[in-house]
């Protein structure tokens, strides 16, 4: 018990140490992707490297889609005719691919961090 309690104390401390500054340093940058007819618009989204940002995905299709990116380590189901917000970054400069998992052939794009 002692060990697990100490461990949870360390984890809580890490959470506070890492989480609070991150929350304060958080930028208000927000980028929007629109999904229509199972295609992302724009297909390439430019974002600043090294900064946290919010990604809003608007699903204008009547059916649900799962935004998925192994590169970004994000997966989120977006119900039909609704939008979802994801917190992403800070990213190193580079290209990060993403897809709509339910319609992978058409719903794909990339985020380019510069």
């Amino acid at each position: 018990m002692k060990i697990s309690r100490r461990l949870s104390a360390v984890l809580v401390a890490l959470w506070l140490a890492g989480g609070l500054p991150a929350a304060y340093a958080q930028g208000n940058d927000s980028f929007t992707l629109t999904l229509k007819d199972h295609k992302f618009q724009p297909e390439e989204l430019q974002v600043p490297a090294g900064k946290k940002f919010k990604l809003v995905v608007k699903n204008l299709d009547p059916t649900a889609e799962e935004f998925e990116s192994h590169d970004l380590k994000r997966e989120k189901v977006i119900a039909g005719n609704s939008e979802a917000t994801l917190s992403i970054g800070p990213l190193k400069a580079g290209t990060y691919r993403f897809v709509g998992e339910y319609n992978e052939k058409t719903a794909k794009g990339r985020i380019v961090a510069k």
Binding site: K73, L86, N103
Partner: protein, 279 residues
């Protein structure tokens, strides 16, 4: 049809492997098939409910409801898996005092099956909800006939279940003397992997820091989206690009469960063992 089959297979695989492990871990338990079947049925009903209310689940907590919901479901499964291992350890000790094997206690039906039925139900719920949303989308788009959707879905379900079956029959080949310690280890890693995945959801919801975004990148070797990646992810929680916080949750889960297993297995003194043998 093939695209439908592939996606359904991908979603079914993880739940099927978990069910395979649970069935192997409960070898010989009376009524286990009923428990597991109930778990699956409950999971399917839950999946449909979650899919229908996907929008409502997503909106709370400034749009991070889905992440919190997923993390919660995973943490419940982690605690159930941990409880299973601790139970096995405690009864292993009592049984060795009364000169019985754990296998006999398990076969006697004493093992808490509801714990594992919940794990099965939650796995089916998580993966099933995505299948329901996907199939609904395919059906609504109208480009595929109902027959083709049904055939694709059934094929994906069949191949995914077959993978769970293969794992189960593979585990059955292990001599009965060792099978519970092997399933115990598998369940420990399963729990750790789920805890790491829950951490990833909390990072996505901005409730946890990553403490370092990418600890390593082994996507060149086993990519997350590949079949091997899916297998390893389902079994041991493998990610190709883990963050430090994921590893921390993974390790902490193993440490906590192992410590609890050690604690219940510690000798308490002579009076502890005697009531079992005295008749």
């Amino acid at each position: 049809m093939l695209a439908t089959a592939v996606i359904v297979f991908r979603e079914v695989l993880e739940a099927a492997l978990i069910i395979g492990i649970v069935l192997a871990a409960t070898r010989g338990v009376a009524g286990r098939v009923v428990w597991v079947t109930n778990g699956i049925a409950g999971g399917v009903v839950g999946a449909i409910v979650v899919a229908v209310f996907a929008g409502a689940i997503a909106s709370p907590a400034s749009g991070m409801g889905q992440e919190i919901f997923n993390a919660l479901v995973l943490f419940i499964a982690v605690s159930m898996l941990g409880w299973h291992n601790v139970w096995m350890k405690r009864h292993g000790r009592e049984m060795s005092i009364s000169m019985k094997s754990v296998g006999e206690a398990v076969r006697g039906g004493a093992k808490p099956m509801y714990v594992l039925a919940v794990v099965v139900g939650l796995a089916v719920l998580r993966e099933g909800a995505e299948v329901v949303l996907f199939l609904h989308g395919v059906a609504a788009s109208g480009t595929n006939s109902a027959a083709s959707i049904a055939a694709g879905g059934a094929a994906g379900l069949a191949v995914g279940s077959a993978m769970g079956g293969l794992l189960y029959f593979g585990l059955l080949r292990i001599p009965s003397k060792y099978v519970f310690s092997v399933t115990g280890w598998l369940i420990l890693l399963l729990a750790a992997g789920m805890a790491a995945q829950a951490a990833a959801f909390l990072v996505q919801a901005d409730l946890l820091p990553t403490l370092g975004d990418t600890l390593w990148d082994s996507s060149w070797l086993v990519a997350d989206g590949s079949l091997a990646g899916k297998f390893l992810h389902a079994l041991i929680g493998y990610p190709a690009r883990p963050s430090c916080i994921q590893l921390a949750f993974y390790a902490a889960t193993i440490v906590v469960i192992v410590v609890l297993m050690r604690l219940v297995n510690r000798p308490y003194g002579p009076q502890r063992g005697t009531p079992i043998t005295a008749s």
